[in-house]
């Protein structure tokens, strides 16, 4: 087995999967899955998304809410638009279960994997943002009139820049 310094392993990861940005852990009691749109990543310029998912870090309560990923731009002004359609319900998500952007066709439903700890790598690489613009990738769950009482999720974005100086940062 080859042995690399951690910095070398990170280079391998970045070249293979793109730059990885993670949010902190958002709790359902106050922040996410409250029937509103919540910004999770700020996007400067144009980026190409290799992977975008949320991973449950605490088991969800038994509430039949749904989630989808959206994009909103403040400069230029672009109203919130769907990156994916609503997922299936997030009822009682187990720790380690992921809500994944499939990423091929705009508006394809986000996918909740059947088993915690196992999910597919997104099939496509979606492009979001505008040249020189500023926007946000959001988690929206106004598609079902249900909020999630308890639980927590961390979001992960892997991307590469597609315009000069483009980058993404976590909102929280």
């Amino acid at each position: 087995m080859r042995s690399y310094a951690n910095s070398t392993v990170e280079v391998s990861e970045v070249l293979n999967s793109g730059l990885r940005v993670e949010t902190g852990i958002a709790v359902c009691t106050t922040t996410i899955f409250k029937q509103t749109s919540v910004p999770i990543f700020t996007v400067y310029g144009v980026i190409r998304i290799s992977a975008l998912f949320g991973e449950a870090t605490t088991v969800f309560s038994a509430d039949a809410a749904k989630g989808r990923f959206t994009f909103t731009s403040s400069d230029p002004v672009i109203a919130e638009a769907n990156m994916s359609a609503d997922s299936a319900v997030v009822t009682s998500l187990a720790k380690g279960t992921r809500l994944t952007l499939q990423g091929d066709v705009v508006g394809t439903a986000a996918v909740i994997t059947a088993s915690a700890g196992i999910s597919f790598w997104p099939l496509g690489k979606m492009i979001v943002g505008t040249n020189g613009g500023t926007g946000t990738i959001n988690l929206n769950n106004d598609g079902a009139a249900v909020s999630v009482a308890t639980g927590a999720m961390q979001f992960v974005l892997c991307y590469t820049p597609l315009s000069d100086g483009a980058y993404a940062v976590n909102v929280f």
Partner: protein, 168 residues
Amino acid sequence: MRNYSQNTQDFASDVINGIEVETSAMANATYMIQTQQEIFNVYGRIKVNILYGEVVTDASANATTLKFNFTSTTPVIGVADMTAASGSLSAAVPGTRVVCLGTAVATGALVDAGPGISGAMLPMIIGTVDGIGTIGILTATASQASGTTKFVIDYVPLSDGAYVTAAH
């Protein structure tokens, strides 16, 4: 033709394909007997680019099928299929691979039609942030009586500090 050191070639492979970890050549009569066997330890969350078993010495003439699965001890996640069962490995010759195709979760693992040629594989995400688990195999239909198989994974971390070790 350019001339690179072996280290540079290894690094090129690891960057493009992911970091490679291999098991030893595992005895089929011990590890393909229709019981759960763990082949790789997974620490954290990883992106699996390639996962397969390759016949090293001839498999016995038993219609063994194989699937890959994942189990986590932290957090506790019961064994769950990464693939469905493959076709038969009966009398598979050296160089024949049984491959995790990696499209939708639980797509059937694919046994090569002939040794040395495998189709494309797509990545999967395995493990959880800060978790500890194992990738395993479960054979069915018939146990193997002889032969050896080496398992190979190529991966990149998908959470800080994530890595994989061979269980054998």
